[in-house]
Amino acid sequence: MKPDALKGQLELVVLATLRDDPLHGYGIIKQIRDRTAGELDVLEGTLYPALYRLESVGMVKSRWETGAGRRRRVYELTPKGRNALAAQVSEWRSFARTLDVILGRTP
């Protein structure tokens, strides 16, 4: 899937990826790649503007962690982010159902 296919939905994908555990930037990309078997091709650098934006609106928080001789910024969902994720997932599923109705009739 081309990176443009994710246009406008990258933040939703990031929130969903952080649902279970805190992750650093590369870890988020790796999770997306692993979960979708490489189908979702994210332009990796564009993840960081999305993370900064999510942090600025209080949906994720971050902290530096040191491990294996390297400092890493780790991101995790806040309660606000968790609520936003639930709302956006519900909205997305409703949208997908509507689209399915139309696409399902296509020969």
């Binding site: 246009k7 406008g8 933040e11 650093h24 930037g25 590369y26 990309i29 332009l43 990796e44 650098g45 564009t46 960081y48 503007p49 999305a50 900064y52 934006r53 999510l54 600025s56 609106v57 390297r70 400092r71 890493r72 910024r73 936003a84 709302a87 949208f95």
Partner: protein, 320 residues
């Protein structure tokens, strides 16, 4: 443009392209370096050479210009939201001050600051803020606002702030150049309130100007055009924004904004009638001709202001 293919060269290019303050810039560069080095380690573990792994990791990260552009978009979205808040605060502070003077000012101060400049400024600011707030409300849940709408929001915040600031300056100049002495000290508390409201325009204007510059600057940045409309099927017109913010007004908004010129003419005609009638009501008509001419002049001024405002600000505010 040659893209850097090694991590060190890429980070230098990213540093040049980013339009961020020092702290977030350093943070991003540290995160990007960690990201790229981790990717290289993994690729080398899969059997690639170190040089090849760096090329692949940098290519997957994306062009520095594109990453910088996305950051500029994030900054522009945040500044636009701040601009709406500041311009709203400036508008309400000034409107409240004018109301305060209207109710409590001594008779010698009755024409300040509620003269024509303030009334005109508040009307322009109210329209600009209403349009801008409707847009912001519709997109309040979107993390990034699409670039075209971002420019309209910045235009609205800047228009509202400049209108209020211009009104305050014009009223001050009129007051200071009025003939004869005035007992300013007798109304020091009221005047201090006016001063505070006027001063609030300064930070509001700075934030609105920054929002305008950042939103306009996105067009000049290299990289792909990145629209972040949350749905490709959603219409981008003001009528749809109004319908989303207040569904009950959707039909009216679509009808009114489908022919903006006619709607402007209808609003101007209504304003002419309302302003003229309001000038005539309550007068004792001792001099009919003067009163009628005066009322008609006020009505005509109001209608002309609406038409001129529509012609000059309609496009920047996305009304036509």
């Amino acid at each position: 443009m040659n893209e850097a293919t090694t991590i060190a060269a890429y980070l230098r290019r990213l540093d040049q392209e980013l339009r961020l303050k020092r702290a977030p810039r350093q943070r991003l560069l540290a995160e990007a370096e960690d990201h790229l080095r981790t990717a290289v380690e993994e690729l080398v573990g899969e059997g690639r050479t170190a040089v090849d792994a760096e090329h692949v990791a940098v290519a997957r990260f994306g062009a520095a210009a594109e990453v910088a552009r996305r950051f500029a978009h994030v900054a522009a979205s945040s500044t636009a939201q701040a601009a709406i808040a500041w311009s709203g605060a400036a508008f309400f502070a000034y409107a409240l001050t004018v109301s305060l003077f209207l109710v409590t000012a001594p008779s010698w101060l009755r024409d300040f600051p509620q003269g024509a400049p303030s009334m005109l400024a508040l009307q322009i600011a109210a329209v600009a803020l209403a349009v801008t707030t409707v847009r912001a409300l519709h997109w309040r849940r979107a993390l990034l606002i699409d670039e075209r709408r971002l420019r309209l929001i910045a235009n609205g915040a800047l228009t509202a702030t400049l209108a209020v600031a211009t009104g305050a300056v014009a009223e001050s100049l009129l007051a200071l150049t009025r003939p004869g002495p005035a007992p300013w000290a007798d109304a020091s508390a009221l005047l201090a309130t006016f001063g505070l409201a006027a001063v609030l325009c300064l930070p509001a204007a700075l934030v609105a100007t920054a929002a305008y510059a950042r939103a306009s600057g996105l067009r000049a940045l290299p990289g792909r055009h990145a629209s972040h409309a949350s749905s490709v099927f959603r219409d981008l017109t003001l009528a749809e924004d109004i319908a989303a913010a207040a569904p009950v007004l959707g039909g009216f908004a679509r009808a009114a904004l489908s022919r903006p010129g006619w709607t402007c003419a209808a609003v101007a005609a209504s304003a002419f009638a309302a302003a003229t009638v309001s000038q005539l009501i309550g007068t004792d008509f001792t001099d009919h001709a003067t009163i009628v001419v005066g009322g008609l002049a006020v009505g005509a001024f109001e209608a002309a202001a609406i038409v001129v405002g529509f012609l000059t600000l309609g496009r920047p505010l996305g009304l036509r």
